[in-house]
Subunit: 502 residues, 2 copies
């Protein structure tokens, strides 16, 4: 440990160096601007990539600061990333900075882009068509976003798109790495219990959601209650996986059960959505639809888990013959991307494919030593995951719009939903078996993440869910996701304490 | 080595496994489609990210195959990546596949997007405005691209943008890693010789280019000859750096001189462009402009090289206090991104910043051991570079439009330009000093890459360069870039053979 005077000296040097670099930058820029004013040709390399790199560096720095802060309070890294994203994202949004408006409204950006591109409308026309009159008023969030999108340099859109891309790569790599720490054998071992947890964790929140909706929104039709129930069934396991990873507990049986149950939940969620949409639109049960989803999912997951390991082993020699030195990284990675695409292609979440890819790849298949190859597969994937996964959580934080929390009616609805959402999954954890920490399993299933939002969006599209209910679901999704790092850490610490004092 | 029967068995198993997975996919897809036909809701997760992941996996696979093929013929990896890009890219383009049209015309895509977004024109209107009547005819390349861009799913644009982003990250990471293998001390050591090589390598091609243009295009004004000369001055060092890296020769003095000269060339190129544009537009010399560029570049490069190492050392403890386990990767990477942005901000190429960041970071500053930290900085950056850098070269190959080689007049012009381009740089290598392989230095400076194209584009924009001349410059850029892996490998092998036989 350096002594205090040495620390002070370091700090002084740091400040001096930082000031010097700022000075250089400012000087350089004013010279560049002056030069640019001269003939307009100085920026020969003027490159949209530059702003992307700056944004990436800033998000990396934010994530680092967030992790540092979380570490101070002995909380999981991911909590720090989420919270700093929420704080910076909402401050920037409140101050009307375009880039934060674009990030907050990334989902709208896709639709807006599509509309502008295909219809030949201007940005404002397309936005008014898509989002109504609010889009024209810059004092609203969506209006601010439209203004930013419209500004003649599309740099903010590019930054938004890049962060979207990076965060998606991040969550794929995270689930892939989590999968690498599991094996087919382990997943089979916990399969039955994962199925039980998943089924109870879908049925119970569905029933509770229907009931609470019937009580709180008595005037609404049954289809509304059905959709509220459906949004409560989802499980988004990204946060949970990251907390287990942060705390070094991915190998625990609790983690394995949660991950298995989350994969099954993704399939069950598809079925619930199909059935609910069928009831709402046709008025009857569409059993054939549900059966089809089950068959597709079983064929995919079964095929991957049973044939996958053989395919992986069989393909490796060919890949290695082509590129011996990079095969250990690129072969698993290509497989991860392909399986993610396949999962998405048949309607499952891409991360289910990434997780499956991780499960079927074992370090052991690379046992044949490569020249100069001392790094394990995990060593090779970790740098990629370390760069991209935090982007996912910082950006997720930046998309939490605190304005949703300002409406008292919405908050009351949300509170009731949160109780059902947490209660339903915690009770589901109880069927995980007596030899695991059941509270941990239940709490790990609580976060709803983007899956709940997708369901709610479908309901809004079908006209069975009004703005207040939709807002309450957004708050429920945010809260169930944000409390998980706290509750899971608490639960894991408690479980460990119990184990250590017999 | 496995025996032949075992190999056959493996092959059979591979085929069986591959057929099984294709079957699963097809079956799953038809089921998914059937399900989708049922109620239209099966694709709850339908995710634009999926196609991006598939494209990434395919480009990774292409790069691997290209490297494997290059390895068979004992050529550098990068040559295989380029060639497979050219082959697949041009076949796909010839067959009219939208994604290849988008990749071939990525530069136009940016302009088209900007026009559609800002003017509210339809894609076709904007394209006709930007690219003329050819845009409306789908049998032309640009027409095909416009058709693809216009198709209601913007998935191909997203794929193109992603590949653009990945390839830019790739070249940044490559130059960063190359920089990591150099140090400030080494660069200072070769500084004078690099300067000499750079100056001769700018002046001589400029003079040769002016002369050959005056001979071959006698009717054109002097400003045309000036621009032809200017396009020949550029050096794009990505290919060269990669060849040295592939062959494990980055530490050689030749590599250091080339890299130093390339950085100086980037500054000189800016000056040449500013002066030439000044002469063409105002008719006189704009010395003030040139002086400004020199001052900006010296302040930036000098500031980074002199203050940089101190700033890096001073900032590390703060970064480490926040995130000890990831600091060794994320701190250098954030620095690389920030310096790339700064370089781009003042008008230099982003890769100059990335290279500078690599130079000022030394493994030694991480000497204080971290818990569980056995990986060197190079170990941590290599996986990132291994994934992204090949994308740059495959995509570069895919953007080589072989149609440009079909015009005899263009080819003759191009041949003359190529002779000047290669000759000028090879002669420049002669001033590198007698203790290095001067041919290697000269041949390493030959590739013009995108820098030459940027210059030619400015000339076309100013109306001093017609389509034939522009086409010839494109062919010159492609040829000087593509021959470099061959010539450099030959030269390095020759140099080594000479050293080993005294």
């Amino acid at each position: 440990m350096p002594s205090t005077p040495r620390r002070l000296l370091r700090l002084l040097r740091l400040c001096a160096a930082a000031s010097a670099s700022v000075l250089i930058l400012v000087l350089g820029r004013s010279l560049a601007l002056a030069a640019d004013g001269g003939s307009g040709q100085a920026a020969a390399h003027s490159d949209p990539m530059a702003i992307v790199l700056l944004a990436a560096a800033l998000v990396i720095a934010l994530a680092v600061i967030g992790r540092g802060a979380a570490g101070r309070f002995d909380q999981p890294d991911v909590l720090g990333e989420l919270l700093i994203g929420i704080v910076i994202g909402n401050i920037g949004y409140q101050f009307g900075l375009p880039v934060f408006a674009v990030i907050m409204h990334l989902h709208e950006a896709g639709a807006l882009f599509h509309e502008v591109w295909t219809t030949g409308a201007t940005v404002t026309e397309a936005a008014t068509h898509l989002f109504g009159e609010a889009a024209a008023r810059p004092e609203t969030g969506i209006g601010l976003f439209v203004q930013a999108a419209e500004a003649s340099d599309s740099a903010w859109l590019l930054v938004g798109l890049t962060l979207w891309l990076f965060s998606n790569i991040g969550i794929i790599l995270l689930l892939f790495q989590v999968g690498l720490e599991s094996s087919v054998r382990e997943m089979r071992h916990v399969g039955g219990r994962a199925l039980a947890v998943a089924v109870v964790g879908v049925v119970l929140p569905m029933v509770l959601g229907y009931g609470i909706s019937a009580v709180l929104v008595p005037g609404a039709p049954a289809s509304t209650h059905l959709f509220v129930g459906a949004t409560l069934t989802a499980t988004s396991v990204g946060i949970t996986a990251r907390v287990f990873s942060d705390l070094g507990r991915l190998q625990s049986r609790e983690a394995q059960i949660i991950l298995g149950a989350a994969v099954i939940d993704d399939v069950l969620g598809l079925i619930v959505l199909a059935v609910v949409v069928g009831i709402v639109t046709t008025g009857g049960l569409v059993l054939g639809e549900a059966v089809r989803i089950v068959v597709i999912s079983l064929v995919f997951l079964g095929g991957v888990l049973i044939l996958g390991p053989h395919v992986v082993r069989a393909g490796l020699p060919a890949f290695r013959a082509l590129d011996r030195s990079r095969a250990k990284l690129l072969y698993p990675l290509a497989l991860c991307f392909v399986l993610s695409w396949m999962a998405s292609y048949i309607g499952l979440a891409a991360i289910v494919g990434a997780f499956a890819a991780g499960i079927i790849i074992e370090e052991a298949i690379f046992a044949e030593p490569d020249p100069g190859d001392q790094q394990t597969l995990a060593d090779l994937v970790r740098p990629l995951e370390a760069v991209f996964a935090p982007v996912f959580f910082v950006v997720m934080g930046m998309q939490v719009n605190l304005r949703a929390f300002l409406d008292l009616h919405v908050l009351m609805l949300a509170s009731a939903l949160i109780v059902c959402a947490v209660g339903g999954k915690v009770v589901a954890g109880a069927v995980a078996g007596s030899d695991v920490d059941r509270a941990t399993v239940g709490l790990g299933m609580v976060p709803r993440g983007e899956v709940g939002l997708i369901f709610a969006n479908v309901g809004r599209g079908l006209g069975v869910m009004d703005e207040a209910l939709f807002g309450a679901i957004v708050v429920m999704v945010v809260v169930t996701t944000l409390i998980t790092p706290f509750t899971l850490r608490w639960s894991l610490a408690r479980g460990r304490a119990r184990t250590e004092t017999p």
